[in-house]
């Protein structure tokens, strides 16, 4: 199982904050997004973190990973 999390405006756009999906073959962060959101292209500028570390979209993911998708950060 892969655990997906969505934050801020992306969470509002999707109408949910989490997903859980099963993967049966090797996947990247981007392909997991496409599996979870087949009709919604990943918005430009979306940041991706796997297990709370920033990664590129082609980062390979594995079972039990937590993948987060979120817009550019605006703290401070």
């Amino acid at each position: 199982m892969i655990y997906l999390r969505y934050f801020a405006s992306l969470r509002e756009t999707l109408g949910r904050s989490t997903d859980e999906i099963e993967i049966f073959e090797s996947q990247t962060a981007l392909s997991v997004w496409n599996l979870a959101n087949p009709t919604i292209p990943l918005p430009e500028n979306t940041l991706v973190a796997v297990n709370m570390e920033y990664v590129p979209l082609d980062y390979p993911v594995k079972n039990c990973d937590e993948i987060a998708f979120f817009p550019p950060v605006t703290g401070g």
Binding site: F7, V73, G75
Partner: protein, 141 residues
Amino acid sequence: MNVKICTEIFDPFAEIQIFQNQLELSGKFGATSIFIGTMRDFNEGDSVQAMTLEHYEGMTQKQLSKMIETAKARWQILDCLIIHRVGEILPNEPIVLISVWSAHRAQAFEACRFLIEELKANAPFWKLEQLTTNEKRWVAK
């Protein structure tokens, strides 16, 4: 504890004093550099009445701790403190405090500047503004 995420209003000056009192650095530091970010009542030409700050619990602490380790490796700093608000915030309330203790001012200034710029670029916080018209919008930058 160098990193604190606060859900309630905090007094940055009191926090600096409390943290400094706990440091075993008496006589060792000659410079303390401080950055405090405060909520404005305007943004992008509009009046803002409140703001909600969301964050990614866990990743926030991880990223901020990593920034501190980088700063400690890069500059000769003795210690530092980062406090950031989340939840509902009103104008004039502090959003973020960064305080850096060092023997000399150059290291303190540079590390403090580094920490706030890194926080703004990488720490997973997001601001949702509520305008005085009651319209809500996500801050884009």
